[in-house]
Symmetry: D2
Subunit: 331 residues, 4 copies
Amino acid sequence: MDRTSIDWTGAMPAITTPFTASGAVDHDGLAANIRRLMAAGATGFVSAGCTGEFWSLTEKERSAIYKTSASTIGDKGAKIVGAAAITPAAVLEALHAAREAGCDAGLVMPPYFAHLTDREIIRHYELVAADAPLPIMLYNIPGNAGNALTPDIVDVLADLDPVVAIKESSGDWINFHKTLNIASDRIKVFCGPSSTIGVPAMLAGCDGLVDCFPNVWTGCIDMWSLFKDGQIETAWDYQARAQALTDLFVSGGRTLYPATKAAMDHLGYPGGGTPRAPLQPLEGTPLQELLQGLERILGRKSSRGLSRTTTLELEGSTTQWTSVSKDAPQS
Amino acid sequence: MDRTSIDWTGAMPAITTPFTASGAVDHDGLAANIRRLMAAGATGFVSAGCTGEFWSLTEKERSAIYKTSASTIGDKGAKIVGAAAITPAAVLEALHAAREAGCDAGLVMPPYFAHLTDREIIRHYELVAADAPLPIMLYNIPGNAGNALTPDIVDVLADLDPVVAIKESSGDWINFHKTLNIASDRIKVFCGPSSTIGVPAMLAGCDGLVDCFPNVWTGCIDMWSLFKDGQIETAWDYQARAQALTDLFVSGGRTLYPATKAAMDHLGYPGGGTPRAPLQPLEGTPLQELLQGLERILGRKSSRGLSRTTTLELEGSTTQWTSVSKDAPQS
Amino acid sequence: MDRTSIDWTGAMPAITTPFTASGAVDHDGLAANIRRLMAAGATGFVSAGCTGEFWSLTEKERSAIYKTSASTIGDKGAKIVGAAAITPAAVLEALHAAREAGCDAGLVMPPYFAHLTDREIIRHYELVAADAPLPIMLYNIPGNAGNALTPDIVDVLADLDPVVAIKESSGDWINFHKTLNIASDRIKVFCGPSSTIGVPAMLAGCDGLVDCFPNVWTGCIDMWSLFKDGQIETAWDYQARAQALTDLFVSGGRTLYPATKAAMDHLGYPGGGTPRAPLQPLEGTPLQELLQGLERILGRKSSRGLSRTTTLELEGSTTQWTSVSKDAPQS
Amino acid sequence: MDRTSIDWTGAMPAITTPFTASGAVDHDGLAANIRRLMAAGATGFVSAGCTGEFWSLTEKERSAIYKTSASTIGDKGAKIVGAAAITPAAVLEALHAAREAGCDAGLVMPPYFAHLTDREIIRHYELVAADAPLPIMLYNIPGNAGNALTPDIVDVLADLDPVVAIKESSGDWINFHKTLNIASDRIKVFCGPSSTIGVPAMLAGCDGLVDCFPNVWTGCIDMWSLFKDGQIETAWDYQARAQALTDLFVSGGRTLYPATKAAMDHLGYPGGGTPRAPLQPLEGTPLQELLQGLERILGRKSSRGLSRTTTLELEGSTTQWTSVSKDAPQS
């Protein structure tokens, strides 16, 4: 198998897992969110991934989510599911459940927590690939997983038979671009954070966008059609707006997923609600500032000025630079 | 003054300072390099900047370089000079020498070495701006200077009267893009490392490219005309090649400026030669691998496969990820 | 409960989980390793923690390990078990299993993988503490968990009733020392990496040492008695030797746990063997260099010269500094 | 020459350069500060170093400071001077001025700003050593200089004839300790930040303390005599207090040197006053909080509770861990 085995393209959101008041998985909300985003142009979905708080789900719950996703999406989009786990055996278990649920592929990150050598990371994927019942989308998310799928590692993994695509979510443009250059002859390359580097990724030839922000703002889906229609200037405007959303969601005592759910609730979208522990619902100042920020960012006609930090507090700040890469020349 | 006060655009190389065998500044080599790059399409130059090893020059030598640059460039390009120093008084001294030499503007980085607050960085530029005899191009190069011109700081500095442009050399795409979005209504924004992010920078609307790589490969000048001519696919191919050059120049016991001079020598270009201490000429394995890499990168017709690390040494490697930005979501 | 509720002190190794040739947990090897280390002076154990590859164990296997540890240790030492998990519910499940197995306490790290705010980390421990059936030893291991128990957070957690101790494994001396200063009035503070900062930690008044290196070298247990006997100079000599072991174990294509098991095998100790995937057994050059390094470090009478990197390769190296803490003065 | 060529020991403060209202060097204040600190037990001084804002001094001013220091100290202490520069020639110029002024030695950091290979750093010192008219104290301050003197580099430099000592100011305990272990057989090893790791450094056998904090609090001088008198518990108490001062001085919009001068002014000590641009005097909230912090830290009898962050703001904080060293095990 390779990139020609699949026809995935466009914006495929990573969707939240909503929970009911009693704490159970809210399958109705899940399905409603999928239908809303399909109507907005989504061409596929990743369910039970990071945005879906996979770490808080039992295996049974995860399988049920796989099934709800599959039946809701039907043949109208790619049915990809999060298959994150630390051991090859546990990844395979998730892939089998996904196949049984009628899904198309599994999103497989490298093992997290333990520090691994490049050789161990490759061996992990070899073990998974040998028995995988479904195509695999690689997943590079080093800021959480600790272990990275570097371009050199992806170059090796792209030759494994079930590997057909990658979601490159390092957030580092140069790493994304190297990965695209090295692997797009064999696998489809999707841009992780459409909200920060989606437009250059599309201009460089990526196959699509897979991330969390469409849950809150379908502008991150429109970005793809704007690009395809040649409305590049508007796409850049959307990029600036999405960047402002990103900065808002991960500052001021907020992290991405609780902020996403709080914003969905505020905007009246299905799929939000209370996250599961260890995540906690936003409240107090972080919540108030989120809502003000949403108003500021989504309620205006252009992105002009959005790059500014809301409250410029130069008085008390000391910005010490951490180089992107220790060997990178800045010249 | 503002961005309309100047007509700078295109590729304006930061040029080396060649030295003679006896260690003096080689003004003939300097002029020859300028003429060569003008013939290749350069629209301006930064002399006596980082690439020009400013830290090793006496004030007298620096002034002489300013003069040679100005007279060689004449009215055929922008005559910008490095004016790096730690105190406002020393920056102003350089700017006055530049004006006397007939140059157009000074490139001014924030003070280096000492850790500064944002307020101190802004105050530094206010003190310089108050007495500046020439327009100022801001210079963000935090990997060397330690202190960064963040987008929020640039937003303030863009309102200072003599400030007309910025060379954004953080190497971090998102920082570059935020700076472009926040300041390009008032000042011209030039992309520092054309070799790594030049194409997306041009596509996003930057005003030009200013960096070291044209000294070695005029493809980094051609990138601009390719872009202007709408040959975007070829421009991306050049980008991949320039990225491979970058990786080559700053790995395996090499750093940027000695590698640049060694490559210029090898390619028969004027402007190379021995760098001044503390930089040392390349020799031994680092030199041999540089020359082999040049052959591999510049001697082929397309960039296909160049993203691969030359020698894939996965056996002994452990890639630990350092997040680009601690708050960035990877989703 | 507080630090007076327990009498833990001294060197309490975090032990490996050995596996049989068929891949099952090797309970005999586990018990043999415990007995060997008790004979060497260990005053307690952490089983099924990081060193014990907790991430590769089923719940059933983990409970069985808890039981073997408890029955082997008996009343001759502290019976502490790893209770790592991402949700409070899963942590509590582990603690209940530990209580049932007759263990004394659970080692509880903050949730890993997802980025959490300080408030979410504290809330996690509050939820765990409210129902904990056993005393809790906090566990700060940010290099793996991603989320840190900063001194300020520990200051809050030290007031939760079941919290009686902390294993501070940041590896950063200043963070360790601040934690000791802020919390040792209420909870016992154990030094995580005895192999790198054990001696200053003992001199500063820590309650004991909990880490992986005693599995390979009981000198890390002797360190405690040397200190108690006032043989400080010898203790510093042991520290230098343990630092050299540390450097050896996490360089050259090696990571800590596979290197530990390979070294145990080489030295003829029980408890080694093949790690479980995703970890892979050392082989080839990384293994050969490990064995040579062991000979070099453990086979000599003093630590003199051990700080030197085995092969000084200054030719090809470029050491770029990453500041320990962005705000720390170096003066 | 080697460590036996000098008799330096104890606390040798790095002193400020005070300026008069008109901006000239205040030689009276400089001398008064030296006399005050000698009376408090200082056994030597570093003048015109980082604390002395070397980057803002003309060569003439620097030489004058050398002379004032030398004549004020006389034969009552070590007369060491900052000789920071980027080229070997400029370092030698400073060393010759120091010799002429009657000083004992020069403190020489590696070249800053430009990224250097280890080979270039060593070559720099070889060039300086070949013509040095005075003994050299190496200076490792990577957080400012960018280039580090790693233990392996120090191991080489310790064999250069004029090198007799090192001021290790990385702030990283493990780096300090490795440097001590590798080089103290040949050169004297002084601890840079006495305020954060002075006590473990003394316990591990360092030769003395050289840093900025004695300007503000002579407790950092007393630390040495407490240690020599065996009053270790009190020394640890002083350490905690000095750590709290450090945290205060480099947070909340403050950096080390302006905070030091503001604190000296507040406490009525000579040697403070207004720093030179690019540093700016503290004012507003950063100043007010500094004075409150000084009261809180120096106005109490013990260090109990000082490790707490003044204002615990867990609501809005997200602590993302940056590992001290990417390869360090945390176990």
